[in-house]
Symmetry: C2
Subunit: 363 residues, 2 copies
């Protein structure tokens, strides 16, 4: 893309919803969940088609940065921004914007995630180009995902009027941000036609977003300003240590977007987007065979087996299923999990149980 | 028991119904399926409460004999009768009877299996004592098992009148042997009250059974007579090699019992007998917990899991099941099998498939 455009990947998360494959030491984004590349590598590869590596930044925690640098050596070391401790996505966004502005005051940046999957990469590029065009006009732009089912797991964005302007893709003003709804509300949103899932992907000029931070979260604005000034100097560690821990943890949605002015949304349908947020989501990402089965990295032999995911870390092991329907089988080596697909959210209960019973080695 | 009583264990079988745990090299009877002892060791231990080891014989094939001698060193080497090749249970029975008669002309012997489970060992002893009493009077005695469900997997024995005699347990003449029935017939047998499963356990005087062999299978009678005469001499190998391969393979049920005279049955209820003939049979043998689950040699954590068997060769591996009902999970290390319990007979289809596709290493 043109000069002054940057991509910032937020990559600090942990998460246990893909346990037993994702573990404390190896969170989802660092795993080759969907093939040979890790989700982090795929996210970078997707962005490297649009941005040169020196204009891609990664915000993460120290524990993950080491592995990330090994996985993606193309991104310069100084583009890894290390959070001393998690303080919410508002802090991450503000810090990244402040550092990027310090380096390039005219910058426009997109916020991207490290652990999502996007099948239709051409459309992704196309949308992002349009979003940058909109962002130039001082909009805070969100990429919305057209819902395909009544999810209660995502926040929603309600669109308002179409924006004026010669854009290559429909763009709307944002009427409202909605928290994760209950099921009846999610049904309503799905059928309304004017609600998108909040994907957590944004595009904005650094000065636009920092002005909003200044207006709504002035303490955060002052802190990241001071940190950014010290960033590329020997005083960085001292300043960040002094200021970061006192920040109030806050999300970008609640802390900034909900009450922001000039917010726009591009509602993307057909992007093939998934947050790979639970085992059942893999049925959407890894394409099932004619029986609805997905065998990932696995020597699978299924008799009378339908809509069943078999996922293994060991391609040598033969996994046989007989008479199984709607099941997720995950072979993580030291742990084997067999789960009815519609109950895969109970993985977190298992993780809780193991914590409580001091079985840390399985976490 | 008194002098002249012998136990002969038939232990040559292979069988794939407990694949992937039972394998070509390690058939069911040589595995510690139900605990620390193998089924073969348990069978011997059960008989050693009744017979001294020098009056227990094992008929098997060379490939299994080596491991059996390691597992049960108490049985003298000369009591392992090696079949050069399988020729059916009629041949095994006739050979064993001929060899035992050669050593002890007054012998009474029981035919026992190597791979069945019997929970109620006191009742087993009691029944066997009674059966020997009946056999003394020149009956061919079969131990029948009172059916607990309409099995289509066993042959049935229909009882006739009660035998006269002062026996400690009801004994009946046998009216008929029935082949494995279809489901409707099995239902009828179950409700008739006069049908037992054919367990493959017998008791008879060696001269009584050999007379029946002579009457119905004279060629077999002559062959085993000649082999037995040479058995404890240096000519054994020469004679058995000359005669054994020409024998017509035949079962003891079809070849001898169905048309035999003076057949009696002791219909045993409450013996807790199982032929451990399929994965679902383990639910009867290994006692389920209050949710109907059985965890064998396994670190199992079940959420919303019922009537599920989890069987592993690796007690270190954590096996988690969520929302599973009526499932058998078998972790054999290199193979993992997950199977709806009522479809566990399809294991043989998997074995066929693997044979056809040259995946011998999993057989």
């Amino acid at each position: 893309m043109t000069e002054h455009t940057y991509a910032v990947i937020m990559a600090g998360g942990g998460g246990t919803r893909l346990w037993p494959i994702s573990r404390k030491e190896t969170p989802k984004q660092l795993l080759p969940l969907l093939g040979k590349e890790t989700l982090f590598q795929s996210s970078v590869a997707r962005l490297e088609k649009i941005f040169p590596p020196e204009r891609i930044l990664v915000v993460t925690v120290e524990e993950q940065a080491r592995e990330m640098r090994v996985q993606v050596p193309s991104i310069p070391k100084e583009n890894y921004l290390i959070e001393p401790a998690p303080r919410g996505t508002a802090s991450v966004v503000a810090l990244a914007a402040a550092v990027v502005r310090m380096r390039d005051p005219q910058a426009i940046m997109t916020i991207q995630t490290a652990d999502h999957h996007i099948r239709n990469q051409d459309l992704f590029q196309y949308l992002l180009h349009t979003a940058f065009d909109v962002a130039k006009k001082e909009y805070l732009v969100t990429l919305g995902i057209t819902p395909t089912y009544p999810s209660t797991g995502y926040g929603y964005i309600q669109q308002g009027d179409a924006l004026n302007g010669d854009y290559k893709y429909p763009v709307y003003s944002v009427k409202d941000f909605k928290e994760k709804p209950d099921e009846a509300t999610a049904q309503k949103f799905l059928h309304s036609g004017d609600h998108s899932w909040n994907s957590g992907m944004f595009v904005w000029r650094v000065d636009t977003i920092l002005n909003e931070v200044k207006r709504q979260m002035p303490e955060l604005f002052n802190a990241v300003g001071e940190i950014a000034s010290a960033w590329d100097t020997p005083k960085k560690d001292e300043v960040i240590t002094k200021l970061w821990y006192d920040l109030e943890p806050q999300t970008v949605d609640y802390g900034i977007m909900e009450k922001a002015e000039h917010v726009a949304v591009l509602p993307a349908g057909g992007l093939g987007w998934s947050d790979v947020g639970s085992w059942d989501s893999l049925f959407e990402v890894l394409l099932p065979d004619m029986n609805g089965n997905v065998a990932a990295n696995t020597h699978h032999l299924g008799l009378d087996t339908h809509n069943t995911l078999v996922y293994s870390v060991n391609v040598e092991r033969l996994i046989v299923t007989i008479g199984m329907d709607d099941v997720v089988v995950v072979d993580a080596g030291d742990v084997l999990m067999i789960c009815k697909t519609d109950q895969s959210q109970k993985v977190k209960n298992v993780v809780e149980h193991l914590k409580k019973h001091n079985q840390e080695k399985f976490l």
